[in-house]
């Protein structure tokens, strides 16, 4: 009798366990296989500026704070502690103190301390003895005067002026903490982090392999035994590999609307999400040389743009019209539609073009005497295709443009030399935050301010919004700045593209960020229901 009862209890327990597991209890084990679109230049996040690096490398590291990996929209409200258990600002907002988690170890067994945080910022600011080969985001941390430590587990960032959004920059996938005891050169080839996964190998053109960090300081994580990124540079092959189950997930935000439809046709079980990636397609106009040193010509050009046509032709409707900041609802700081409509070039296309033609006629151009220019762009499809549409649209206002495809490696050098009249460019934003977007792309003297637009009054407004702590108040200031930038034809934004990611239904806990393509790849609690 007792045996029967025991067996019944065992069966009931097994059934209950099974039901619980089916209800979504995470399972340990398995290798997540993702295809990678290209061989990334290295796995040292601080030295690179592409999410081809963040995607495989973010799991190697931790930040002081990080965006909640399961809230698609990154905002100040979704920042959670990571290596810092807590943080606080001084009363004058000029010091930001982080209390660090104790007992964290680097992958090589060395203890993590506040010195590592100091070393990281010293490296970023070029104050350390070792230097990065390149340091693409050093300007983001210009406001930090000094980093001081108080014992092994407290660190303070001292600021020149209050900057509420600094915490947003620290939460980005672009800002991991690096170890003091490992050189930048080694971090490029054999990275050491505190993250949920350890580096195993990186073979150019072949694969990147990460293995579970058994001593990860977040107990019970990660669930996966490892992640394997197979480098498949041909997208057609990659899609077929996903459909055939050779990989569990596509490279994040790499699928177009048409490709997703194709995938769903071949594998109805695939989970696919499409959303913005905070990459804008924009125009750079050389305002220093004629004829574009004349603001009227620049205005006429901005009035000729049919933004919806760009989105429909190139992305089959999967895109958004907006200003510098990513438009809502996914974007936190983008101008609302009613405000956008008030900006010249964002309203009725036909009326705007009439106005543009009138300007051009007044300047002496016409159908028999068009303005002849070259539209320069990087010789890559994502740049070339919108440039071709642009050339077609410019014809409507007596601008006869010719495509000037520039070899990819020469693109930024050409722009830096001012050796172009009109260029088409793509700008990605690591975080959806006005400080990063404004200072990086529009501040006088910034390296990425390709058009050399310089408006001191507006720059004062950049500073003003930057110190504002009230989000709604800051938002209105940001909208005013963004509107002014578009009216000044500083760098006309053509569109914000949307693209997608697909994964198999057994991949659980996968969240794709909706307003940044750079921040959501920690993968510590992703698991496989196999």
């Amino acid at each position: 009798m007792n045996t029967k009862l025991g067996a019944l209890a065992l069966v009931t327990f097994a059934f209950a366990t099974l039901m619980f597991a089916q209800a979504g209890e995470p399972k340990h084990g398995g290798i997540l296989r993702i295809y990678h679109r290209e061989t990334p230049p290295s796995l040292s996040i601080h030295e690179e500026a592409t999410f081809s690096v963040n995607t495989p490398a973010m799991g190697l590291y931790n930040n002081l704070v990080v965006y909640d990996q399961h809230k698609p929209q990154n905002s100040m409200g979704t920042i959670v502690p990571e290596l810092a258990d807590s943080w606080s600002a001084s009363s004058d907002n000029l010091a930001l103190t982080f209390r660090l988690h104790q007992g964290v170890k680097w992958h090589d067994g060395q203890p993590f301390t506040s010195k590592d945080v100091k070393c990281t910022f010293d490296l970023l600011q070029g104050k350390a003895k070792d230097k990065f080969r390149k340091n693409p985001r050093k300007d983001l941390f210009n406001n930090i005067v000094e980093v001081t430590t108080n014992g092994d587990f407290e660190v303070t960032l001292h600021l020149k002026r209050p900057q509420p959004s600094l915490i947003a920059m620290l939460a980005s996938g672009y800002t991991p903490v690096y170890p003091c005891h490992v050189s930048p050169a080694q971090m490029r080839t054999n990275p050491i982090g505190t993250g949920p996964f350890k580096f195993v190998e990186f073979k150019q053109n072949e694969s990147i392999k990460l293995a579970k960090n058994e001593n990860y300081w977040k107990k019970g994580l990660p669930y996966l035994d490892g992640i394997e990124f197979t480098i498949i540079s041909n997208r057609a092959t990659a899609v077929l590999a996903f459909v055939a189950g050779k990989v569990d997930m596509t490279f994040p935000t790499e699928m177009t609307k048409a490709l997703i439809a194709d995938i769903k046709k071949q594998d109805a079980t695939a989970i696919c999400e499409i959303g913005p990636i905070n990459v804008s397609t924009n125009l750079i106009v050389n305002r220093e040389n004629p004829p574009f040193n004349n603001v009227e010509v620049r205005k006429a050009m901005a009035l000729a743009l049919d933004r919806k046509a760009f989105i429909d032709i190139i992305y089959q409707g999967a895109g958004d019209v907006g200003g510098t900041m990513l438009p809502p609802p996914e974007g936190v700081w983008g101008m609302p539609a009613e405000l956008l409509k008030m900006i010249p070039g964002y309203g009725d296309v036909q009326k705007d073009r009439e106005q543009a033609r009138a300007i051009m006629t007044k300047l002496g151009y016409g159908s028999n005497n068009p303005l002849k220019i070259k539209v320069s762009t990087r010789n890559l499809a994502s740049y070339r295709d919108p440039a071709v549409v642009l050339i077609d649209q410019l014809k409507t206002i007596y601008i006869d443009a010719e495509l000037d495809p520039v070899e990819s490696s020469q693109w930024f050098a050409k722009v830096a030399r001012n050796d172009y009249s009109v260029g088409l460019n793509l700008t990605g934003n690591g975080i959806d935050d006005p400080d990063q977007a404004f200072y990086e792309n529009y501040a006088c003297g910034s390296e990425r301010n390709y058009t050399h637009y310089c408006n001191k009054e507006l720059e004062a407004l950049f500073d003003k919004q930057s110190v504002e702590t009230e989000v709604e108040k800051r938002k209105k200031m940001v909208w005013d700045i963004d509107k002014k930038l578009q009216e000044d034809v500083a760098r006309p934004i053509l569109m914000h593209a949307r693209s997608g990611t697909c994964w198999k239904p057994y991949v659980k806990n996968m969240t794709i960020m909706s307003n940044s393509a750079y921040n959501g790849y920690r993968y510590e609690d992703v698991w496989l229901d196999k």
């Binding site: 690179e48 340091n135 150019q204 053109n205 694969s207 480098i231 498949i232 930024f412």
Partner: protein, 336 residues
């Protein structure tokens, strides 16, 4: 000394003279091969530096920025600021010592990056060539022997389609068919384990590549055979009652093979470094795909050494073909 003895000595001397001539032929070819390689090394080195941009440009371009000071520092670190002749001499002397330098991108020794990729491409090229010769030569003979029959027409259409179909398109069609009908995809994601696994992984892309090569070989074998089959000695062989098989394969094919051997050699050299599209479609991490990637990054140590490797393979194959000519065709032997 008898007349017979004199004749024998004269014959022996003539034999040694012939042998000496063949030896000279080989030595001359060998030195020509070295000269060619020297020319190639100069050419690739110069051309690479004529291409706009270097690794420092690419590195900063990828970050969307130009920092002149940091760029100059990187160029100095990699030795790119030194005069080009100095860089050339350093490279060539390194080659002589077996030191291929370091990859600018991976920062690992170039030899460690290049060596593992050679067997991968060699397997693919070897299988593709095997496929091409196995099908190309016999079908070319059959097509010639059965000239203007239905079989000949069918084979000619197949060979024409082999030459016309771009291999990337054929490759993609094969992959799509595999996914649609078998739910599997024969692409390289991890190094294959064991003989059968390797054969399975490489045979499909080898067939995609080999189809084009076999078509080329088949057409050349056919035309060469047709020419030979019209020769007097073939008519004589037929007239003396030799069986058709002997006439076709022993008398005709051997003489028709010379141009075919040349093409097989050229194809073998091409397959070692020219399978960019096939390696990309089937995701094979071989020499050609790696070379393209290295060119994209202006990774000079990788590009220079890989191109030299491909050149050595091509020149060596040509050298072997020259030797094979001498074996196959006595006229070449005696003329030299």
């Amino acid at each position: 000394m008898t007349l017979e003895r004199c004749g024998a000595l004269w014959g022996r001397a003539a034999y040694f003279r012939r042998e000496a001539r063949v030896g000279t032929y080989i030595i001359r070819r060998f030195f020509l091969m070295l000269l060619t390689l020297f020319g190639i090394s100069l050419l690739i080195f110069t051309m690479l530096r004529l291409v706009p941009g270097n690794i420092a440009d690419i590195v900063f371009n990828a970050a969307g920025m130009i920092d002149v000071a940091e760029k100059a520092k990187l160029e100095k670190e990699l030795g790119l600021d030194r005069p080009i002749p100095v860089q050339y001499v350093e490279w060539v002397s390194g080659l002589a010592r077996g030191d291929l330098g370091y990859s600018y991108v991976s920062e690992k020794p170039a030899i460690d990056e290049i060596l593992p990729r050679i067997p991968i491409t060699a397997k693919l090229a070897g299988l593709a060539l095997l496929f091409a010769v196995t099908f190309g030569v016999p079908l070319g003979v059959i097509s010639a022997v059965k000239q203007n029959t239905t079989l000949d027409y069918v084979l000619r259409v197949i060979s024409l389609s082999g030459l016309s179909l771009p291999s990337f398109w054929l490759g993609l069609l094969i992959l799509m068919a595999f996914v649609a009908y078998f739910g599997a995809i024969p692409i390289y994601t991890n190094p294959p384990k064991g003989f059968w696994n390797t054969l399975w992984l490489f045979s499909i892309p080898a067939m995609a590549v080999g189809f084009r090569s076999s078509a080329l070989i088949m057409r050349l074998t056919r035309s060469s055979m047709l020419e030979v089959l019209r020769q007097d000695y073939i008519r004589t062989a037929r007239a003396k009652g030799a069986p058709a098989r002997t006439v076709n394969y022993r008398h005709a094919l051997r003489n028709a093979l010379l141009p075919v051997v040349t093409v097989i050699g050229i194809e073998a050299a091409f397959l070692m470094g020219g399978l960019i599209v096939t390696e990309t479609v089937f995701n094979i991490p071989g020499v050609a795909r790696f070379l393209v990637e290295a060119i994209r990054w202006r990774d000079y140590p990788i590009v220079q050494n890989l191109v030299m490797f491909v050149a050595v393979v091509a020149v060596s194959i040509n050298f072997l073909i020259d030797l094979l000519y001498a074996v196959l065709d006595p006229r070449i032997r005696y003329a030299s």
